[in-house]
């Protein structure tokens, strides 16, 4: 594993060279083709520097006799541009490389997972496709390096502090916790709907997540303090929030909670007397409509406590949702063994940048879990829904979904109004409420 570090030092980033090459190629693309070899989709331990070198060596002969040009991108993908005369031998080389990785799931599970090892393009007729694919990869790389630079940069840290407020300290945490015990949080309780969305982008509400808005909490109790600045202190504070949430859910006279709901809890809360008394007040058939969202870091902090809590909570009738998965954690965690009823994947443009192989990975996960048990959250663009639908995801949550709900409601209002007007103009008919 240690040669990962060397990978970056010894192989210069070829993204820029590739962009230049593509620009120059535009003029003389007749009779040429390109193959993209998706080595970035191999398991990380199969794409060490030694593997990449070995794969690249299959093209050495072509490069030295000037019938082809090779680029190795940072993620590991190879782009080989070649003259059509050597297509057959290029195909053989790609086949040999594929054989090298026959143990990797990318190749081994190709038929069941519908993964792609190599993509072939004709430079003449598919030039714009090639440009687009390369641009996406280069943009993703640039985003990553800018993000990395910003993290270490004192100026951006200062800017962040001015925007988000002073960091949370133990003193502030202590004050915050006592304020939380007293404050009426019911007006900070928010709900966000998780919806199924059909082809015409019409949403249908399936359940709603209840949460205490951290932004509003901060503004009400501790303006100028960034509650998220230290993740450990924040995590501790969520245990207090859990208990307030449970007591709010108990007092249904103050907060009306209808339909299927979900809320976040810590595992330690599930095993506490507060949860016990909450559960005692919940009727047996209501439990089946409640989804408890758990964070992956909480699960792995004490796996035994999680396994225990999972069985206990599921046997009472609640559902468990594994929250906060990203592409990376999806690849690392064995979600089948975690055994949650539902799973939440956070939308991020990297899901699209990963191309067909990432789509295949998500689709396999969705097939295993069942479409309606997977939620794509933080959807803030149309692109997110498109990706989710391509992967077979059944439920969506986020700002964009809220917009769709609002649009749908406006549309329904308009329909209702229209009918009323129509009826009013028909003599002899009243204007009783339509049941839409």
């Amino acid at each position: 594993m240690s040669d990962k570090a060397i990978t970056k030092k010894n192989i210069p980033s070829q993204e820029k060279l590739l962009i230049d090459y593509i620009q120059r190629m535009e003029e003389h693309r007749v009779g040429r083709s390109v193959v993209q070899i998706h080595l970035s989709s191999l398991r990380p331990y199969n794409r060490r520097e030694s593997h990449l070198r070995a794969a690249a060596s299959y093209f050495e002969g072509f490069i030295s006799d000037l019938s082809g040009q090779l680029f190795i991108l940072r993620g590991g993908d190879l782009f080989f541009f070649f003259k059509n005369e050597i297509r057959a031998s290029t195909e053989t080389a790609v086949q040999q490389i594929k054989y090298m990785f026959s143990d990797d799931p990318l190749v081994a599970d190709e038929l069941t997972m519908h993964t792609v090892f190599s993509s072939w393009f004709d430079a003449e007729s598919q030039f714009s496709d090639i440009q687009r694919i390369i641009q996406v990869l280069v943009n993703a790389e640039e985003r990553r390096s800018i993000e990395n630079k910003n993290r270490m940069d004192a100026r951006s840290a200062l800017k962040e502090k001015q925007r988000l407020g002073e960091p949370l300290t133990p003193e502030i945490l202590s004050r915050m916790e006592s304020a939380l015990q007293r404050a009426d949080l019911s007006n900070l309780l928010r709900r966000q709907f998780a919806c199924s969305i059909d082809k015409n982008l019409i949403p249908e509400q399936v359940f709603s997540e209840l949460f205490i808005s951290i932004k509003d909490l901060r503004e009400t109790l501790m303006p100028n303090v960034n509650l998220l600045s230290n993740r450990w202190l924040f995590q501790h504070m969520t245990e207090t929030l859990d208990k307030r949430m449970l007591s709010m859910l108990n007092k249904t006279d103050r907060v009306t909670i209808s339909g299927n709901i979900s809320f976040n809890l810590n595992i330690r809360t599930l095993l506490s007397p507060e949860f016990e008394s909450f559960d005692a007040s919940v009727s047996a058939n209501r439990r089946g409509t409640m989804i408890i969202e758990l964070q992956k870091e909480d699960i792995f902090t004490d796996l035994r406590a999680y396994l225990f809590a999972r069985e206990f909570i599921q046997s009472l009738g609640y559902k468990i949702l594994l929250d906060g998965l990203t592409l990376q954690t999806l690849q690392i965690i064995d979600h089948n063994k975690i055994g949650a009823d539902m799973l939440k994947l956070m939308w991020n443009a990297e899901l699209i940048d990963g191309g067909e192989n990432v789509l295949a990975l998500v689709r396999t996960m969705v097939d295993g879990m069942g479409s309606r048990n997977v939620v794509l959250c933080r959807c803030d663009t149309r692109e997110a829904i498109d990706f989710g639908q391509a992967a077979g995801i059944g439920l969506y949550q986020g700002r964009y979904v809220e917009t769709l709900i609002a649009e749908d409601e406006r549309r329904r209002d308009l329909m209702r109004l229209k009918r009323r007007i129509e009826r009013a103009s028909e003599p002899g008919l009243g204007d009783e409420e339509d049941d839409m």
Binding site: S174, L271, D302, R304, T329, I332
Partner: protein
């Protein structure tokens, strides 16, 4: 359980005995199921686990002619009358399912090898007699247990191991203490060895760490620092910075063996680490940075970034906090660190042929055996376990002693 100091012992155990006496008069249809929760692994025997396990029976007890007894050691005994065995199975299986990773629940329910639950047909006089004897023995050990825990209480042993929980209101003071107190004398080291059969071990690196028990005595006597995992983690961020300052001042060119330091990922992004990095810049290839798994999981992007940054500077990265069970739930070789540290525990003895160990074997294969360390090695069993899956790097008291003995022998042989 009420502690009655003067009169004879009273508790659920004696209530169970009384119940068995009543069964004697009208035995038809009676049976008992004894769930041996006391034989669970230590980590599964938390008192709230047992309380919750008992709660699983609530509905069952309301609907059937049955009674549940909670024994002092965590065992549960269910006494039933005229209930179908299949009906009882359902609720017993619910309790069994609470402990999925425990060897106690591995064998087939109801089979001869089922160590989780044993069934007693109380309508048979022999069995009733035998079970009554068992319960009498339980009462004897309950008396002994009470006696010893009372003595322990007087010796304040309990107070020391628990103490006031770490909380938001005492955190600040303790944190200030940790910032001020002298720590250089509390820094210890323990080596990771590459073990070559028949030869003396070779040091891979020395892990430098702060002796927590001594530090706790110095800055937070009477406080249970581990009562909140998150607040403890917060304190370690302060310790990171103290450690960097102390190690940064030492003459790193005198360093004979490579070293490792435990750090939070956020510390790597801090000015303190940048300062350390300036003094350490020509020695980075001999410095390993250890991260905890929970730290990595709570922000994978920052981990990736820290890992890239450290690698670019020449450091090595180690993922700590793994154990053979956790590896069944995620593949740490995907994290692309230079080392993985798997913490051994006696509960993993005897797992040599299970499915679980195959997952560990896969991880060792993916990561490469030169990158995997078995830590907390405190017995021959641990080394045997590690060797069976191809591990060659070890850390722990047992290996320390072994290496010392080997060296002494070499010296004698000269």
């Amino acid at each position: 359980m009420a502690v009655n100091t003067n009169t004879d012992f009273e508790g659920e155990e004696t209530a169970l005995l009384a119940r068995l006496t009543r069964v004697h008069d009208n035995a038809a249809g009676s049976f008992a199921v004894h769930m041996h929760l006391s034989n669970l692994r230590e980590s599964n025997k938390q008192s709230y686990f047992i309380t919750i396990a008992a709660r699983v029976f609530e509905d069952f007890l309301n609907e059937h002619e049955a009674q549940l007894f909670t024994i002092f050691n965590g065992d549960l005994v269910l006494v039933c009358r005229n209930i179908e065995v299949d009906t009882v199975d359902v609720v017993i299986d619910k309790v069994r399912a609470l402990f999925p990773e425990d060897p106690l629940t591995l064998n087939d329910p109801g089979s001869f090898d089922d160590h989780f639950a044993s069934w007693h047909d109380l309508s048979q006089p022999d069995e009733l007699q035998a079970f009554t004897t068992t319960v009498n023995e339980i009462i004897d050990s309950a008396k002994n247990f009470l006696e010893t825990s009372r003595n322990k209480l007087q010796g304040k042993a309990l107070e020391e191991s628990f103490g006031t929980p770490l909380a938001a209101d005492n955190l600040s003071a303790i944190n200030q203490q940790m910032k001020r107190t002298q720590i250089a004398d509390l820094i210890r080291n323990q080596s990771v060895y590459r073990v070559i059969p028949g030869e003396k071990g070779e040091i891979v690196f020395r892990e430098y760490f702060i002796a927590m028990t001594e530090l706790k005595a110095r800055v937070a006597p009477g406080i249970n620092l581990f009562s909140s995992p998150w607040l403890f983690q917060y304190l370690t961020e302060t310790l990171d910075k103290r450690m960097l300052a102390v190690i940064g001042k030492r003459n790193l060119s005198d360093m004979v063996d490579p070293i490792s330091l435990n750090m939070n990922i956020d510390t790597i992004m801090s000015r303190d680490f940048q300062k350390f990095n300036e003094t350490a810049s020509s020695f980075t290839k001999n410095i390993v940075i250890e991260f905890q798994m929970i730290d990595i999981f709570s922000d994978m992007n920052t981990y990736r970034h820290a890992c890239d940054f450290l690698h670019e500077c020449g450091y090595k990265v180690l993922v700590d906090g793994l154990n053979p069970m956790i590896i069944n739930y995620f593949d740490p070789s995907m994290l692309l660190s230079d080392y993985l540290k798997i913490n051994w525990g006696p509960e993993f003895t005897g797992d040599e042929n299970g499915d679980a160990i195959n997952e560990v074997r896969e991880v060792v294969k993916h990561a490469g055996k030169e990158h995997v360390i078995l830590a907390r090695v405190d017995s021959q069993d641990a080394i045997r376990w590690g060797a069976s899956i191809g591990i060659t790097r070890y850390q722990g008291y047992f290996i320390d002693r072994l290496v010392l003995a080997l060296r002494a022998q070499k010296r004698r042989d000269k």
